[in-house]
Symmetry: C2
Subunit: 333 residues, 2 copies
Amino acid sequence: MKKLMNDPADFVTQSVAGMVMAHSDLVSLNSTPLYVTRAGAPAAGKVGVISGGGSGHEPLHAGFVGPGMLDAAVPGPVFTSPSPDPIQAATAAVDSGAGVLHIVKNYTGDVLNFDMAKELAEAEGTEVASVLVEDDVAVEDSTYTAGRRGVAGTVLVEKIAGAAAQRGDDLASVAALATRAAQAVRSMGVALRAPVVPASGEASFDLSDDEIEVGIGIHGEPGRHRQAMAQADELTAMLLEPVVADLALREGNQVILFVNGMGATTSPELYIAYAAARRILEAHGVQVTRSLVGSYVTSLDMAGASVSVMRLDDELLELWDAPVKTIALRWGM
Amino acid sequence: MKKLMNDPADFVTQSVAGMVMAHSDLVSLNSTPLYVTRAGAPAAGKVGVISGGGSGHEPLHAGFVGPGMLDAAVPGPVFTSPSPDPIQAATAAVDSGAGVLHIVKNYTGDVLNFDMAKELAEAEGTEVASVLVEDDVAVEDSTYTAGRRGVAGTVLVEKIAGAAAQRGDDLASVAALATRAAQAVRSMGVALRAPVVPASGEASFDLSDDEIEVGIGIHGEPGRHRQAMAQADELTAMLLEPVVADLALREGNQVILFVNGMGATTSPELYIAYAAARRILEAHGVQVTRSLVGSYVTSLDMAGASVSVMRLDDELLELWDAPVKTIALRWGM
């Protein structure tokens, strides 16, 4: 299968370098070890907020670096956690003295390497807090995970935590709000076509022409079941109802509804799913207060989508609405 | 092939309705005939700027409706021009008395239908000017086109015209600036994989596993030639050199460099192509003053990319930098 790339071994470094080149007003590159910081980091007096993980989920995480969101992102190899070294270096680079929050998706490699980086950073005198995102309701344990996987909900957690840090909250408060956000968001996804991994040039799993995988992970990990393709309204209900149940949403709840594309799914398709999801939530008496629709947490060029819902309270809504200026998410500045 | 949709006949109406539902702060829907306006249109005293064309190129055009860019977008059926009726209705809806500019991509159907809508609107007393975008240097005539096709450069023309209208220029000035922008931008694209059309469920053309189409149109129209897949650096040079030659770029010129994804191509791939394009331009002594990288003018879920370059002068740069608030392009507000 064809990809717009040079040597597959350079896929991550060349793309990150190109991204920083195109957006040098927003982000700066550290090549060795590889991480991306907000331009002008560290931001004086502010808690640093960083995230990272395997590449292949762009714009997550580097696309969310900038005022009001992340201070740094650490991209690992495709679908592979970055080692502790770049995480530790990024942590040091964004520490202004107010400490650093690590936002970690729940995968075994990420958890181990962020934990080790945290210990190393603490040994050098940086205060570090950590929040785990485990929003995927599809399965309880998975290929690379003990417990639930961290998927698209991560974007919402990064936005909330970044806004709290930007307004001047201390590390404990930023961590508490990130935890509250992580507990308030749940997601589930479906794959229509497997992604092609750059190094192998092969589809990462087999799916026949009329088959889909319901509850897919963002690395192509198996979900709940395979079935024949169905219409968007039916598929959306299949993704959303477990989310609604897990969050125990009740009439009168206010939510952010986030329909996320997996990479190769077009925006018209995402908006068709969005309309279906919104009708379902409204039938439950749930009010869709804010919306996000787009390909923000991808799985290379997988075709498919996920639906995430975050239950809002007044403070989470205020932090969601706060200005943000990153490559992939920008409003109010 | 699978798509996230319900009845293919509802693909456009359901997706547009979902989009307007998700972004009701920015856009309003007119269902019959189908068009999308900026919320609160017409904007008092301002020239209206509208565009439209076949669907399947999202976020073009409806994703660019909002302050600082378009006042309305008219989505036709997939890959098929909207009829004169919705274009005329959209024209009337955004006319505050200052007249309306039509931005038309050069395809036979679009040109005919926008011309007819212009005549109808003028007969009802609306002053209408029109600008044709024909930025594709790949071929001189094509399947649906006499003369060059209008492709990704359209986004840049819409941004420039929208900014001119927003600052209060009169219709003649907005039209003149849009024309200047259209003459200053050139593009060329490549397909790695054909898109699948919703109605047929079939790939719109055949391309073997190691084959690419250089100079592809945004409806899958044939380009210059087919060849074996090559590395990104080589492909990017193949797209960019004809653009540089056609614009007669010289040392010291300032440009916007726009690397556009065709739908299913991931952002890391676009950034790899961007880095290659930037190196080539810099080797020509051309300064990349602004950059845009993303999937803005798509061909459903085609895999591939295009490279556009706009030669800047001080006024075009000022208009490019002006604040804009749309679904797909937003800065400064």
